[in-house]
């Protein structure tokens, strides 16, 4: 006992240190999210170099190809589409606004064609003016470069089907019709798609110079229209953004002027080192999730530098509905009852960092309904259901990625499975393989832990993408319906809701809520929690704004 004393003292000291300034810290960073964009550009804060950190680069810099949260965030300061989500903090960031288009499009009564008038005088960073030809070429390029969403989000454009099959020489003469004289672009769809305007605000459909080659440009920056242009990019070292000298603000809501003169994104430091660097004022922000053992300190001693915002995302467990034991609905429901979601939330960093999820649709996504059919852990009921399903005693492997939170959740789930009567094992695999591995039906994964982030605010981006028959592909690494769930009845209901969305948004949302509830009963997925994003910035940073789709608005930060 004696020998232990100095250690206890040391720990006490450490706690005392970290709680030093807690009393003076503001209660939440969230209110800051509202400030900023509403006021005009504040000249006195212009200038300086914003220093960002990440463990590693996030793949290609080609906005038509890259499909990662990290680079989508960066692209906001570099590229524009015909439409944009408002670049403001808070709720309004889910609203669309015309960007390179002068106004919101005119939609034909049948909902199958959208006509845009192109804004005049906008220039790419190479000095060329944006023309309707660039718009047409950019849409064709989505297919030529085999963009990841070319066969899904943009499959509905007239002529797209042929382009998806044969990308070389793709032309959309009927799908994207331009009128040089009137400076208009008309996009024709095979069938009405109420989500089409949302898709036009994503980086995959930004407008690039027509001369851009029709293949992945990788690390070679492509000229864009935003306030910043990439000067250099090496995914192992750094991405350097400098001001686009040809940029002049045309719409503050769509693409505001940025504050820092330079944005340098350095890759390579571990997140632990990154947090230390931010605390020491050597860097301004880090992309990667903050380490669990630093959260408490950041939330107290550095509370004024931390910003917490809910994400349109959820962590969930897909249950493979085609192999034992979860081919039995009772077995799946048993798991809904067995998991204590509050316990899982603890592993993510506690109740202020995540909210237990009762539904498939996260709060904030249209169609989310506030019901909770499995409100509380009930192990007895779960055991009973396992007995009913006749699957008790079977072996179940929980497959998780080798990243800290996933491993912890996996271990908890394994422990719970044992308690309700299964022989459970935890299997941990490399994070980079995990996502494709668990999708492939050949790998016979019974149960895994994964996450889904909204591509755009729509119920279908969760329910239809994750659980429709179409998103299950036998033996493919790209089969996002990991539960292998296919219910013709549910498919029909989802189609109905999507159709309804074109005419009556409210009715559609109610419908989605019902579908959500029915899917929860069928339980192909066990939702765990809706996470929150913690942005930890250096003490010199001001004007923090959180965009619900693209996260923190990098170029709006003040470093002066």
């Amino acid at each position: 006992m004696k020998r232990a004393l100095p250690l206890v003292a040391m720990l006490a000291l450490a706690t005392a240190c970290s709680s030093g300034t807690a009393a003076t810290a503001p209660q939440s960073g969230a209110p800051a999210a509202q400030s900023g964009a509403a006021a005009g550009f504040q000249e006195q804060h212009k200038g300086g170099t914003l220093k960002l950190l990440a463990k590693s680069g996030d793949g290609t810099l080609d906005p038509h190809i890259n499909y990662s949260n990290g680079n989508w965030q960066v692209f906001q300061a570099m590229y524009d589409g015909l439409l944009a989500f408002k670049k403001v903090g808070g709720e309004a960031s889910y609203e669309l606004t015309p960007d390179l288009a002068e106004a919101m499009p005119q939609v034909a009564p049948d909902g199958k064609s959208y006509t845009f008038t192109l804004r005049k005088g906008v220039k790419f960073s190479n000095g060329d003016e944006v023309t309707v030809d660039d718009v047409k070429a950019s849409f064709e390029r989505i297919y030529k470069a085999s963009g990841p969403t070319s066969g899904t989000f943009f499959a509905g454009i007239v002529g797209a089907a042929a382009c998806v099959k044969k990308p070389e020489g793709c032309t959309l003469d009927k799908g994207v019709v331009v009128d040089k004289a009137k400076n208009t672009v008309t996009i024709n769809l095979e069938a009405p798609d109420s989500e089409f305007p949302l898709k036009l605000a994503l980086p995959h459909s930004v407008i690039l110079p027509k001369a851009t080659p029709g293949k992945d440009q990788g690390t070679k920056p492509i000229p864009g229209t935003g306030p910043y242009a990439a000067a250099s990019y090496d995914p192992n070292k750094e991405l350097k953004l400098v001001r686009n000298s040809h940029f002049t603000e045309w719409s503050r809501e769509a693409q505001p002027q940025g504050y820092p003169d330079e944005i340098v994104y350095s890759y390579g430091l571990t997140v632990e080192a990154a947090v230390t660097a931010i605390q020491n004022g050597q860097a301004d922000w880090s992309f990667d999730p903050l380490p669990a053992d630093r959260l408490t300190e950041i939330g107290s001693k550095y509370a004024s530098q931390a910003h917490v915002n809910p994400l349109s995302a959820f962590w969930y467990m897909p249950l493979n509905t085609r192999i034992a034991p979860f081919d039995k609905p009772e077995a799946r429901q048993a798991l809904q009852w067995a998991i204590d979601r509050a316990a899982v939330v603890k592993m993510y960093g506690g109740a202020n960092l995540a909210a237990p999820a009762c539904t498939l649709l996260p709060a904030g996504i249209p169609g989310h309904a506030d019901f909770c059919d499995y409100p509380k852990q009930d192990l007895e009921k779960a055991k009973q259901l396992v007995q009913q399903s006749g699957t008790a005693g079977q072996e179940v492997a929980v497959v998780v990625a080798d990243e800290d939170v996933s491993k912890q959740i996996g271990e908890y789930v394994r422990s719970v499975l044992e308690q309700i009567g299964y022989k459970a094992k935890l299997k941990v695999i490399s994070t980079n393989i995990h996502f494709t591995y668990v999708q492939n039906s050949k790998n016979q994964v019974q149960l895994s832990v994964t996450q889904w982030y909204a591509d755009y605010p729509a119920a279908s981006d969760f329910l239809h993408v994750l659980l429709s028959c179409a998103s299950f592909r036998e033996g493919s690494d790209a089969s996002i319906n990991m539960a292998a769930f296919c219910d013709k009845d549910m498919d029909a209901k989802m189609a109905e809701a999507m159709k309804l969305d074109q005419t009556d948004k409210n009715a559609a949302n109610t419908k989605w809520g019902e579908i959500d509830r029915e899917l929860m009963r069928k339980s192909p997925i066990v939702p765990l929690f809706q996470p929150k994003q913690v942005d930890f910035v250096s003490s010199r940073v001001g004007n923090y704004g959180f965009h619900k789709q693209f996260f923190m608005l990098l170029d709006q930060l003040w470093v002066k």
């Binding site: 590693s56 990788g218 070292k237 632990e272 020491n280 393989i433 996002i480």
Partner: protein
């Protein structure tokens, strides 16, 4: 001699070939590594996936893919990454070499000096308190996981004591020697010490053992009988022979480290060397970069071994007529 070099060269090529084939086969035997699916990402259309696969050449038979990869690596020098398309593999490795060399050479100097001093002291003063004391320090060095040690060192120098004792420690990262020799050394100081601590312990222990052996050898007894001073015996006779296994081990360690085996040290201290490159490639399962770094590492291992074998003969006359 030319024949010998030729033989070693042939052997080196064989080793590199064997390793590259093994890496290639293991990669493709692993489910979930398909870079097309990882790039095309969430919910891609099967047709799109097929096109991306084709653009990587992944639909060719394996021997063709292997051949193409070797051609890009050795003949056209334009092998590009699977994950970060457009990033050439060769320049990445070449950029990383000076960093790794800086780290490894500095650490090697420290650990060799420390290891030899500690080992000699312990072997020489065997039976006194110095011996177990020195060895205890050495054993602790060996027993600490290097990434753990690195994290703790960072915790102290960058964080807990950064405001007081270690306020002079620069942020993590690397500064090229050409840019500022002072900063270069300052940035590398703790990585050097961390890496050296591990190896110094191993070398000290091994040297001590060898030295005690040597001091019992006939030739040492003869020297003693001749009335040579103990110091002279130690340095001229015993130490010289005892260093032989050390040199062999040093060759292995140094070759491996220059090849990127200081992976965890580089990662923990944020040094963009070959080890870190390898680590990132492994994390991303980026086959072209893995292949490049692995072959580079293998080259150094083979080279170091060859050099050691030659040195062996020079250091120990007994090997010469035996070999």
């Amino acid at each position: 001699m030319i024949g010998y070099i030729g033989k070693r060269l042939g052997a080196a090529v064989f080793v590199l070939f064997a390793i590259s084939v093994l890496v290639f086969l293991i990669f493709f035997a692993t489910p979930g590594v398909d870079p097309a699916a990882r790039i095309a990402g969430k919910n891609a259309d099967p047709a799109t996936l097929a096109q991306v696969r084709a653009s990587f050449g992944l639909d060719d038979p394996l021997p063709v893919q292997y051949g193409m990869m070797m051609k890009h690596l050795f003949i056209t020098h334009d092998l590009t990454s699977f994950v970060n398309r457009g990033t050439l593999v060769m320049p990445q490795i070449i950029d990383a070499i000076p960093v790794t060399l800086s780290l490894v050479v500095g650490a090697a100097v420290i650990w060799m000096v420390l290891g030899i001093v500690m080992g000699t002291l312990a072997g020489w003063l065997k039976g006194t308190i110095v011996d177990p004391l020195v060895m205890l320090v050495g054993v602790f060095g060996v027993s600490l996981p290097v990434y753990w040690l690195g994290e703790v060192v960072n915790l102290l120098t960058q964080k807990q004591l950064h405001d007081s004792v270690f306020s002079w420690v620069p942020p993590l990262g690397y500064v090229p020697f050409s840019q500022s020799p002072g900063q270069w050394a300052l940035h590398l100081l703790f990585p050097w010490l961390t890496l050296a601590l591990l190896y110094a312990g191993i070398y000290a222990r091994l040297l001590r053992g060898e030295l005690i052996n040597a001091l019992n050898e006939d030739y040492v007894r003869t020297a003693r009988a001749k009335g040579l001073s103990e110091r002279r015996i130690l340095i001229k006779h015993a130490l010289r022979c005892s260093l032989i296994p050390i040199v062999s081990l040093f060759g292995l360690d140094f070759g491996a480290l220059v090849g990127g085996a200081a992976l965890l040290t580089e990662v923990v201290f944020g040094l963009p060397g070959v080890g870190k490159l390898t680590y990132q490639a492994l994390q991303n399962l980026d086959l072209p970069v893995i292949m490049g770094t692995v072959l580079y590492a293998a080259f150094f291992v083979v080279l170091a071994n060859a050099v050691v074998d030659v040195l062996y003969a020079r250091l120990d006359p007994r090997v010469r007529h035996a070999a």
